[in-house]
Symmetry: C2
Subunit: 362 residues, 2 copies
């Protein structure tokens, strides 16, 4: 276990990249009384963030407990790698893609030796605005924040990142890096790209077409206003998952075009019905009526990597783990981990974990 990873976040926290998300993390930590160190290749952003009370400029002799990398997708891998090799800190990042940066860390000879200290994460919060001036310490309150430990991540490092997520008021969601990327392709990247295609049909349209615009088209196209360079990086970094879903969507589009051309009303209505079902599948916002929960207890050998392996197996069963509680009784050679899931998912999780060799209890 690395010396910095105490499993309890006390700081200092270093934030690398003082844009909207990085500065918001810094403000939330500072508000909780944790010392925050700021760095960015853009000096003006650091000064602005510091002026907002987000922390102070990092010095060479600072020893952060946790480094939060908040830089654009194209440079996530190199910046995480640099953070791992430059300090003893636990390192997380808040990037929109998780598998490729992890692969870049594992491919780097020196960083790979420290990969146990790296645990990726991704807050599902943002804004059409950008930069430190748009930041807010409450940006993450009640929002999902994906934590995506790889198989060799240290338990203490995972716990430290979870501490950060809870500190800023977000709701942890546990996924493998690969599953995370498939999830955001579906619920974020593809909706953005398709919104952009619809908006593209408006560019250069006659004024008298556009003057009939109502709330519907405004809603469908709102996200398409996002920065093309940033979204280009995000999508390029998640090309396999995004491409697969776009090809699925093209098959449906082909079927829709055919149904309309052939006046096949039942086929058209079926496609629209599937869409209605999709809108109903989106869970209510945090604060909506709570689902009944059930706990699954798992016996875990008390050595590094086992908790991460359990989490990986839990998420591989496609059950959404709502909460995790770890029994820290160090007098025993095994630990007990409690996984909290929706009632209807409990049985599935039990069966799935047992099939993977875990000892479970209700």
């Amino acid at each position: 276990m690395p010396e910095a990873g105490t499993g309890s976040l006390v700081g200092p926290v270093e934030v690398v990249g003082t844009g909207l998300v990085g500065t918001s993390v810094a403000l939330a930590c500072a508000r909780a009384g944790i010392e925050v160190l700021l760095s960015d290749h853009n000096d003006e952003h650091v000064r602005t963030a510091s002026g907002l009370g987000a922390g102070r400029v990092r010095r060479a002799d600072d020893r952060p407990q946790l480094v939060v990398v908040a830089v654009p997708p194209d440079v996530l891998g190199p910046v995480i790698t640099a953070a791992l090799t430059a300090s003893e800190a636990v390192v997380t990042d808040v990037g929109s893609i998780k598998a490729r940066p992890l692969a870049q860390v594992l491919e780097h000879p020196e960083a790979a030796a420290h990969a146990a200290r790296y645990v990726g994460s991704h807050p599902m919060a943002g804004s059409e605005h950008s930069g430190p001036l748009a930041a807010s310490p409450t940006l993450f309150e009640g929002r999902p924040w994906a934590i995506t430990p790889h198989r060799d991540a240290d338990v203490a490092a995972v716990e430290l990142v979870e501490d950060l997520v809870r500190l800023v008021g977000a709701v942890p969601a546990w996924l493998t890096p690969e599953e995370h990327d498939r999830a955001v392709a579906r619920i974020s990247h593809v909706p953005h790209l398709v919104s952009s295609l619809v908006a593209g049909r408006l560019a250069g349209a006659p004024d008298n077409h556009l003057s009939l615009s109502g709330q519907g088209v405004r809603d469908v196209t709102r996200v398409a206003a996002g920065d093309p360079r940033l979204y280009g990086q995000i999508v390029a970094g998640n090309a396999p998952a995004v491409g697969e879903l776009l090809r699925e969507l093209r098959r449906d589009l082909d079927a829709m075009i055919e149904a309309i051309a052939g006046d096949e009303r039942a086929a058209l209505e079926q496609l629209l019905e599937t869409g209605v079902a999709g809108t109903r599948a989106i869970p209510g916002k945090h604060g909506a009526p709570a689902t009944a929960m059930v706990s699954v207890f798992v016996t875990v050998p008390d050595h590094p990597g086992e908790l991460a392996r359990l989490l990986a197996d839990a998420v591989a069963s496609e059950v959404n783990v709502e909460d995790i509680r770890i029994d820290h009784d160090t007098s025993r050679p095994t630990g007990l981990v409690e996984l909290v899931v929706a009632e209807q998912s409990g049985e599935r999780l039990l069966v799935s974990l047992e099939s993977r060799g875990w000892v479970t209890h209700r």
Copy 2:
């Protein structure tokens, strides 16, 4: 000029179809002190609407000045036809498609003889809810309301429909029936269909994917919750325009899939840039900073069909006519019509109308 068409709305107004839109029209008219007659094949809807103060049940001997047909797209043609042959009233409808119902009227031997009394229209207002209980007299305030006169519509009939639009607080937008259908394909039907395709990718998705849903995917898919049977009718009734745009969108989707698969970042960013331009093309809501306006005056022979011909020629120039004022001095053999358009569109409208043989003045 038919006896009912005085060019000034005094009532009674008959509303055929007491769903959300029909009942909202009725409530707005009743609030303005106009007698409203209600009819619907669903007795319960009529009683509900009447109970809300929207009007009284129509009797056989009533003689409405204006009939507003507010029925589903599949039955627009037959109900408009029946209204034209059953009374001397001016007839409009509030349906989402305009060319096909008009064609059905013109194909009907008896109704075709009365087609001068029919002027289609379409309020760009609605709700995810339906039925009379969701109705509101303020539903149309500040919203665009397309008026789509055909070439042989009576001037007085057009004016009466414009009176209705202004009475309920909506903003008239003048288009030909064909241009209207192309416009709503672009700003309503295709956004709805594509929203439905995105939502379709969520149906049956793993819980742990859906739990990461943020505001973006909720916005993109909101309209997809609409009634599949109603939207099936709308889309089927506008198949050529919708099909053309969906095929354009498929070409862009193919280009996007190729750009992502080939990691062609510039091509991907270009598609996203076009989307950004599209979001900027949507005009501000009514109440946004006003555009400077200019008036174009046109000399119009004072006999039936001429105003409609002028409107058809004006909209054929793809200029959005914001307002129309008609000089009613009956002592002259010609009238003067003032067309109000955005400043930058004035010259285009002048040139276009002159090329079609109209005498214009600044």
